[in-house]
C-alpha cells in the first residue's frame, strides 16, 4: 500500500503541548516538511523565541539554540556569521519580534543577514495569558485592553513586515496564514522560498504567518480560523510585501 501521509523526518515523536486550534503545530510541521524536502536537516540550526513556541525544540528535530526574549535575529546573526554554510532560522512571536526585539530584527534585515525569520502573528501575547501585543487589532479585547484596543491609549497595531520591506537588506517578505488547507499550502511555499533564498545566499527573508490563538481570543478553533479571514487580514493583508529575489529554484 502506498503511504501518503507520515510524520516528517524532522519532527520528533512528541505530542504537541499547544492549545486546541493553535497554529504553532501546523507551522512546526511545515518547517519540518520543508527542511526534509530541501534535504538541509543536517545543517539547519533553529532559534526559538521566548513565548509559547520556546518549546519548538521539543518538536523540531534539528539543532536549536534558545535566544533571550526578542533577540532571535541577533543570536541567528552570531550563528550565521560563524557558520555561513549552515541554514539558520529564527522562529518568533509578535511580541518577541515586533515589540521587545524590534531593533534586532530591523537591523538584521538592514544588514541583509542571510537568515530566515518566521514571524508568528497571533495578535496577542499567548504564553503570558493574552495581553495586548504590538499586533493586536484596534478594538480587539485583550487582558490589557479590556474595552478593546484604542488608538488614543494603546496605539494602532504595528506593520512590522511593511517596515522591514523598506530595509535595504531584506530580500523577501511575505504575509500568509494557516487557517485553511489552501493557506497552509501557500505558507509552505513561502517557507520553502525563504530557505531557498538563504541557500542561494541572497539575504534576509521573513514570513509573517497569521496564526489563530483560540484560547486567548476566547473563540472556538473554527471561529478563530474564520476571524483571521473576517478581521485580521483587514489590518494585515495577505500578500508578498517584498520580493527582489524573483524566481528561485
Amino acid at each position: 500500500m502506498k503511504k501518503v501521509f507520515q510524520r516528517p523526518r524532522y519532527l520528533k515523536k512528541a505530542v504537541f503541548h499547544y492549545c486546541p486550534g493553535c497554529g504553532h503545530s501546523i507551522i512546526h510541521r511545515l518547517i519540518a516538511e520543508v527542511i526534509e524536502e530541501l534535504n538541509i536537516g543536517e545543517k539547519t540550526i533553529g532559534v526559538p523565541p521566548a513565548g509559547c513556541a520556546v518549546l519548538a525544540y521539543d518538536y523540531l528535530d534539528v539543532d536549536m539554540g534558545e535566544a533571550p526574549h526578542g533577540r532571535g535575529a541577533a543570536v541567528a546573526t552570531g550563528l550565521k556569521r560563524v557558520l555561513p554554510d549552515h541554514i539558520i532560522f529564527s522562529y518568533q512571536g509578535d511580541g518577541d519580534i515586533a515589540a521587545i526585539g524590534t531593533a534586532e530584527t530591523i537591523h538584521a534585515a538592514n544588514r541583509g543577514e542571510n537568515i530566515s525569520v518566521f514571524f508568528i502573528n497571533n495578535a496577542c501575547y499567548g504564553m503570558t495569558g493574552g495581553q495586548m501585543a504590538p499586533t493586536t487589532l484596534l478594538g480587539q479585547e485583550s487582558t490589557t485592553t479590556p474595552g478593546g484596543r484604542r488608538k488614543d491609549r494603546d496605539a494602532a497595531p504595528i506593520d512590522l513586515s511593511e517596515m522591514l520591506a523598506i530595509a535595504r537588506g531584506s530580500v523577501y517578505i511575505e504575509r500568509t496564514t494557516v487557517n485553511s488547507p489552501k493557506s497552509i499550502r501557500k505558507t509552505k511555499k513561502a517557507i520553502t522560498k525563504s530557505f531557498k533564498i538563504q541557500m542561494a545566499g541572497l539575504g534576509f527573508s521573513l514570513i509573517e504567518i497569521l496564526s489563530p490563538c483560540p484560547v486567548n481570543w476566547k473563540m472556538a478553533p473554527v471561529e478563530a480560523a474564520r476571524w483571521i479571514d473576517d478581521e485580521m487580514i483587514k489590518t494585515f493583508p495577505l500578500k508578498v510585501i517584498k520580493d527582489t529575489a524573483g524566481k528561485i529554484d
Binding site: I45, G65, P68, A74, L79
Partner: protein, 348 residues
C-alpha cells in the same frame, strides 16, 4: 592590547557598540578581523544585540568576545545570565567609568558589585579578572578565553578608563592555532551524523532547574578551588597591607614604595581574580598582618569581600575615591602613614 591579545588567543568573533572609554578596542577589532580569514566583526545596533550575537557565535563554537563600558555592561546583563545558564563560553570586557547613570568617562571601579555578584538575574557567578597593566591586559585576555572554554562560562575582564586609554610596551603571547583547540562536543553545527542538540535555559520543571543550579554550583566550587590569584608585593615583613586591584593597585604600589622609604613596613595585596576572590591567600597574610587598608575607586565594594575573607579576625580599614577621580600615590601614602601611626605599628 586586549584586541590583539584576543585575536592571538583565537578570538574569531567580536560584536560591539561604541561607548567611551573603550572605543579603541572596538576599532581595533574592526580593522583586524578583516584580515583574518574566518574572523567576524559586527558593529551591533546596541549592547544588547552585541551580547546576543556573541551568544549565537558561542553556540556555533567560536571564541567570541564583546566589550563595553559600565552603562553598556548593564545592558548586556540579561545576555550574560543566559551565557551562564546555557554554559556558553564568552569573554566580556568592561572598561569601567564613573557612575551610576550616565556618569562620566573617567576611570572608576564602581562596577565591582555588578561584576562579582553575577550582575544579571538568577543564581550564577561570572569569572572576573582584573588586570593592572598593559602586559596583564594582554596576558589575562589569553587566560580569559582559556577559562571561558575550560569552564564553559562567561569571563569578565574588569578594566577601567585608565587602562582603556594607556599605552605601555607589551610582549604579546604567540598566536595560537585555532584549528588545534580542543573539540567542543556541545556546539550547534547541524545534526550531521548525530542526534539533534538543544542549547536552552528554560527549565519549567523546578526540579530540573534545581539540578542545573547545583550543577553550576559544583562548577563554581571547582573554579573557586582552581583559579584564585593574587599578587603579593612586599608583604613578607609587613605590618600593614594595602588591598587594591587594577588601576587602584598601581597607585597603591607607588604609595607602598614611598612609605617603605620612610621606614614603614607596608605591603600590597592585589587580587587578580575578583571572583573567585583569593581569600585563602589573604587569610594566609592575616596570620602576620593585623591591619589592612582597602583602597578602591568607589565608595567601598571589594571591602566587603575582604571582610568576608578575614571573618572579623583583622582590622579592615577603607579609603575610596568614587566618581572617576584618581588618587595620587602621595595621597594614598599619606593615608597609609596616618593609619600606620594610629594603629601604633612598629617601624624599622
Amino acid at each position: 592590547m586586549i584586541g590583539e591579545a584576543a585575536i592571538r588567543a583565537g578570538c574569531r568573533f567580536y560584536a560591539g557598540y561604541p561607548i567611551t572609554p573603550q572605543n579603541e578596542l572596538t576599532e581595533y577589532m574592526a580593522r583586524s578581523m578583516d584580515n583574518i580569514e574566518d574572523g567576524t566583526f559586527v558593529q551591533a545596533e546596541s549592547e544588547i544585540a552585541a551580547i546576543n550575537m556573541v551568544i549565537g557565535a558561542s553556540m556555533a563554537g567560536a571564541r567570541a568576545m564583546t566589550s563595553s563600558s559600565s552603562p553598556g555592561i548593564s545592558l548586556k546583563q540579561e545576555g550574560i545570565s543566559f551565557l551562564a545558564a546555557q554554559e556558553l563560553p564568552a569573554v566580556i570586557v568592561n572598561t569601567m567609568r564613573g557612575g551610576p547613570g550616565l556618569g562620566n568617562i573617567a576611570p572608576s571601579q564602581g562596577d565591582y558589585f555588578q561584576a562579582t555578584r553575577g550582575g544579571g538575574h538568577g543564581d550564577y557567578r561570572t569569572i572576573v579578572l582584573a588586570p593592572d597593566s598593559g602586559q596583564e591586559l594582554a596576558d589575562l585576555t589569553r587566560t580569559a578565553f582559556e577559562y571561558a572554554d575550560k569552564y564553559r562560562s562567561p569571563v569578565l575582564m574588569l578594566a577601567d578608563g585608565m587602562m582603556g586609554q594607556m599605552m605601555e610596551p607589551v610582549v604579546f603571547p604567540e598566536p595560537i592555532d585555532v584549528s588545534l583547540l580542543p573539540h567542543k562536543p556541545w556546539t550547534l553545527g547541524g545534526a550531521e551524523g548525530r542526534p539533534s542538540r538543544i542549547i536552552l535555559s528554560l527549565l519549567l520543571n523546578p526540579a530540573k532547574q534545581e539540578e542545573l543550579n547545583w550543577k553550576l554550583e559544583r562548577k563554581y566550587e571547582t573554579i573557586t578551588r582552581e583559579i584564585p590569584k593574587a599578587e603579593k608585593y612586599m608583604t613578607d615583613d609587613a605590618h600593614l597591607a594595602v588591598i587594591a586591584y587594577g588601576t587602584a593597585a598601581r597607585i597603591a604600589k607607588g604609595a607602598v614604595k614611598r612609605v617603605r622609604e620612610m621606614g614603614l613596613k607596608v605591603g600590597l595585596f592585589r587580587p587578580i581574580t575578583l571572583w573567585p576572590y583569593p581569600k585563602n591567600d589573604l587569610r594566609d597574610l592575616s596570620r602576620h598582618i593585623r591591619d589592612f587598608l582597602v583602597f578602591e575607586m568607589n565608595t567601598g565594594q571589594m571591602v566587603e569581600d575582604v571582610k568576608l575573607s578575614l571573618e572579623g579576625k583583622s582590622n579592615v580599614h577603607f579609603y575610596g575615591r568614587p566618581g572617576g577621580t584618581i588618587s595620587t600615590p602621595d595621597e594614598i601614602a599619606k593615608m597609609i602613614n596616618t593609619l600606620y601611626h594610629r594603629q601604633n605599628l612598629e617601624e624599622e
